[in-house]
């Protein structure tokens, strides 16, 4: 329990799904109060807040939640980093503790997305209301969606998956459906998941096609939810109770990267190079090998994305993601269980909550408190998120030695 380490002292997530009777402040407050109770501390003990709510980015969600749970005058960082927003808020609290500015930090992310429908890359109104007039950095005379390809998320990640298939072979519609089948099977054990029904690969393939090869159950679910964590310095943790020390989870690595330039990155987002860079740094920082991981929660925003991240996170040899999946490795009884929470495809993806909810999942297993879905004897786990634009956050977590 080195003084330099930072630990998760308490963590909580709401049930993901539809919460028509709750607003973002209700959901965030529920997760914050839950995390404080889990940590057995109060707002008066907290030195800093990192907060995220992507869809209400200008609203100052950190201060809004303070008004409900405790206005103590501490610094608040409202952060935005696409789907990595929650992980970035978590890392802000981590960095403040690392810098010696705080002993205890609170991070939370919240989103209301139920019923949001397809998140597109912008609409098109061809030639409406007057003449063709070039606009913007491409001199476009109309919306480009459907003209120069697609910017919709299911379409972008479909292309990322089929690009991997083109490079290495072996990945087809059915393989991607079987990845979704795994995550939907895992979700049946997670009472916090939005969708808990098992789906066969055949059912998944027969569902509504969104962007081939991604059908609807192969896409992340737009749902409501929040997650919050209390972080503590190693020095402060030494002074806390044996029970708090026993349940604390060590943050062995916290890494954030953006996408370095690649030839094709201007036409198709590159989610691989920055993930590989983050993974290399995280494994080095933690002194952990991919083979040491007892569970991984990776950013399966689409089934096509999960495949490429097996490779990017070095869970398999380069180019070996299809073989890795076909070996059964990422199933909950496999050698490297991936997305035992059900993943974004079935647990749901309330954007800013996701990067803390995945820490909740791993931490809960490391504490041995995951109930029927517990990965027995879990000692070390990894969380990964990608925000388009791009941002990648990876955290490696380890069970307390106490």
């Amino acid at each position: 329990m080195s003084g330099d380490d930072v630990w998760v002292l308490g963590i909580h997530m709401t049930k993901f799904g539809k919460h028509p009777d709750k607003d973002v402040v209700d959901l965030a407050s529920e997760s914050v109060l839950g995390a404080l109770a889990d940590a057995d501390v109060s707002m008066a003990d907290i030195d800093v807040i990192g907060a995220g709510n992507l869809m209400g980015a200008s609203g100052g969600i950190g201060q809004q939640v303070q008004k409900q749970v405790g206005q103590t005058g501490i610094p608040v960082y409202n952060v935005v980093n696409a789907c990595a927003t929650g992980a970035t808020a978590f890392r802000v609290a981590y960095l403040e503790i690392k810098a010696g500015e705080a002993d205890l930090g609170l991070a939370f992310g919240v989103e209301k997305l139920a019923g949001a429908g397809l998140l597109t890359g912008g609409g098109s109104s061809a030639g409406s209301g007057g003449g063709w007039t070039p606009k913007g950095r491409l001199g476009a005379v109309t919306g480009l969606e459907g003209h120069t390809g697609t910017g919709t998320m299911p379409g972008v990640f479909a292309q990322i998956g089929l690009d991997y298939a083109h490079r290495y072979g072996g990945a087809d519609f059915e393989l991607f459906a079987r990845i979704a089948e795994k995550n939907h099977a895992h979700s049946t054990l997670n009472p916090l998941a939005a969708h808990q029904k098992p789906m066969s690969a055949a059912q998944i393939m027969a569902d509504v096609m969104v962007a081939y090869p991604n059908t609807r159950p192969m896409c992340s679910a737009n749902v409501d939810g929040a997650a919050a964590a209390v972080l503590v310095s190693g020095e402060r943790l030494k002074k806390l109770s044996p029970e708090q020390r026993r349940r604390a989870v060590k943050i062995s690595a916290s890494v954030l990267t953006s996408d370095p330039w690649q030839e094709s990155c201007q036409v198709l987002p590159d989610v691989s190079t920055l993930t590989k860079a983050a993974a290399r740094k995280a494994y080095s920082m933690a002194g952990v090998d991919p083979g040491d991981l007892d569970l991984v929660e990776l950013h399966d925003c689409f089934a096509t994305a999960e495949l490429v991240h097996y490779d990017n996170l070095m869970l398999c040899a380069e180019g070996g993601a299809v073989d890795f999946f076909n070996s059964g490795a990422p199933w909950r009884d496999g050698t490297t269980p991936v997305n035992v929470s059900g993943g974004l495809e079935s647990k749901g993806h309330p954007i800013a909550a996701t990067g803390i909810a995945n820490v909740f999942e791993v931490a809960t297993h490391l504490r041995g408190e995951a109930g029927p879905r517990q990965i027995e004897g879990a000692r070390v786990g990894l969380t990964h998120v990608i925000g388009l634009g791009q941002a990648c956050a990876i955290h490696i977590l380890e069970r307390s030695a106490a």
Binding site: L118, T120, G123, S124, S125, A126, G127, S128, G130, G131, W132, P134, R137, L138, G139, A140, V141, T142, G143, L144, E145, G146, H147, T148, G149, T150, T152, P154, G155, A158, Q159, I160, L162, D163, A165, H166, F173, V208, M209, V210, A211, Y212, P213, N214, W261, E263, S264, C265, Q266, V267, L268
Partner: protein
Amino acid sequence: MTQTPAPVITGQIPIVDYLILEPEPHLRAHECASCHARYFDRRNACANCSGTEFADVDVPTAGVLSTYTIVSFAPPGVDAPFVAAIVDCAGTSVRGKLLNVPPTPENVALGMPLRLATYSLGADADGVEAIGYGFEPAGGSAGAPADREDSQ
């Protein structure tokens, strides 16, 4: 595109400024003078090397299909489903959609040879016709791109 009684076409305008219509339709990129990275949009500096000198270069019209998706939903006025694609034009990656290919997986193959083609988005009140681009199988197929676009 729904065809209303055809206005008198007084001129043409490309859908994006990196599509050059004359003498033959092709794409043009801004190439960094230092590192040769290529961009289609207006640039303040190079994302690869921060250089600020650029020269315009013509992108080859022949390429191969790097990856694709078949998108089921499109904005109003755009036919769906459509095949969105990334095409490798002799080392320059280009975004576009496939033309003259039925939008089903059986008709699309990773690595298939393609060539640039154009289609009409219709004319505005002044008779100016907007021209879009896409890629069609290099083996060729029946019908002009604009005709094919009508039948999707």
